[in-house]
């Protein structure tokens, strides 16, 4: 049934539909409504799982670590400073190979204070061992939370579902909310292999030597690599069940395009409108929306790219001293096998609008003949 939902409520409803057993939370703008909705559903008896109101985000992730070790399907949502505060425990959950699912609502990191969307919070958790999926609509938020449990429980790695602060989290749009029975058919209960059980005591996360540590990380690398195909497989299964198919990449009007906008998150939706506008001007534009950041879809990207292609990568994030993060990762994935050129554009930090007009300008700049030598990073903003 279609319902008008804000992104935060789509996330919380998805957690309920996934039959989450332990939800833990701590409020932070712009994620708070996800937390509040879960608390409200719990109070009304609509959410049968445990709901824990923790005293900080660090404790949230510690509780997730405990609950997931005990074999529970878990959920939480956070943002910005809250995610940064969880950082240490993010490594713990991933290293313990627990398939936790968390929603991160993108918000810029301080200083100075800023409340609006910016991918620096999630992207700075790049090396924690969490998968990261970026959404462009509230429908995709709900769908991706459901898919994430299935993917995470297959490869035994935690997953972060990322949505733009305010642009998705607080915007209302129709979302097709599936029936519980349909979700149950798609997502079976989580059956962990080893759980914390006092009748069968074992120790978790104890000290290991370098030999074991290297092997554990090698296995994590293998599972991350496997996740690339699992994401595609689960995306196809989801499509068969619900009529909405997802993959690592989402290409729009790219078949005959030489210059392609590369976007992520809600900008990926606006970019489609920019491509439509460019096409109406007779220009061969396309948009490639990156859905997964970890595992990085390097193989899929190499298959997508053709020689001579120009990629105009729009980054709503910045790694000081290095540049836009998607642009860097894309360059690394394409080097040296591909002859595409990658042009980095940094825009919309701290919630600035990345408009249809701005995206068209970026595309035209990269498409123009003298742009064949890529510039590492160009900073742009909407004129208004």
């Amino acid at each position: 049934m279609k319902k008008v939902l804000m992104g935060n409520h789509a996330a919380a409803l998805a957690a309920k539909l996934a039959r989450v057993q332990v939800a833990v939370g701590y409020p932070i703008t712009p994620q708070t409504q996800a937390y509040e909705m879960l608390a409200e559903m719990k109070a009304k008896g609509e959410f049968p799982g445990e709901f824990i109101a923790a005293e900080s985000e660090h404790s949230v992730m510690a509780a997730i670590l405990g609950a997931a070790t005990a074999g529970a399907r878990t959920f939480t949502a956070t943002s910005s400073q809250g995610l940064a505060y969880m950082h240490e425990l993010l490594h713990w959950v991933a290293g313990s190979r627990l398939p936790a699912v968390m929603v991160d609502v993108n918000r810029a990191l301080a200083a100075p204070w800023n409340l609006w969307t910016d991918q620096s919070d999630s992207l700075s958790q790049r090396d924690t061992g969490w998968m990261q999926f970026y959404c462009s609509t509230n429908q995709e938020v709900l769908d991706t939370v459901l898919m994430s449990y299935k993917i995470a429980e297959r490869v035994m790695l935690p997953a972060m579902v990322v949505l733009d602060g305010f642009t998705l989290s607080h915007s209302y749009e129709p979302v097709d909310v599936p029936e519980q029975s349909e979700v149950d058919a798609f997502l079976p209960p989580y059956k962990p292999e080893v759980v914390l059980d006092y009748k069968n005591p074992v120790g978790f996360g104890a000290l290991v030597g370098p030999k074991e540590y290297l092997r554990l990380r090698r296995r994590m690398a293998a599972d991350m690599a496997e996740a690339e195909s699992v994401i595609e497989e689960v995306g196809r299964e989801f499509g068969a069940a619900f009529g909405r198919r997802y993959g690592q990449l989402d290409a729009y009007r790219c078949a005959d395009a030489r210059t392609i906008l590369v976007t992520s998150g809600a900008v990926g939706s606006t970019a489609r409108a920019a491509v439509d506008a460019l096409r109406e001007q007779g220009l061969k534009a396309g948009n490639l929306r990156m859905r997964s950041f970890r595992p990085f879809p390097a193989k899929a990207l190499r298959e997508f790219v053709r020689p001579g292609m120009r990629l105009a990568v729009v980054d709503r994030n910045y790694s000081p001293g290095a540049g836009g993060i998607w642009a860097q990762e894309i360059k690394a994935a394409l080097y040296p096998r591909s002859r595409a050129s990658v042009h980095g554009y940094v825009a919309g930090l701290g919630g600035g609008d990345i408009t249809v007009e701005l995206l068209q300008e970026v595309w035209k700049r990269v498409d123009s003949a003298n742009a064949s030598v890529p510039v590492a990073e160009t900073w742009v903003e909407d004129a208004r």
């Binding site: 090698r218 296995r219 293998a222």
Partner: protein, 93 residues
Amino acid sequence: MPLLDDDARSLPRVILSTRRMSENKTGNWRTMRPVIDRHICTGCQICWKYCPEACVKLTDKVPAIDMDFCKGCGICVEECPKRCVSFVPEASV
């Protein structure tokens, strides 16, 4: 050079500790040994409460310290309100 890539998916995801902690005897870490003076001890159990290794046993009025596990940290020596635990070098025992 050994390569770890050939059969990476057969490597473990986690390493669980299945042996009991009691198998891990830590008594040989000790260089100093706590010795309780049976005549002064009142059986107040403070040493039992404070022992971080949980190796103080309370079977009799006077506690017994399990030297298989005592690491010689000296906390019981410090905390005993009657000052009846002395700390003696292992070499002299």
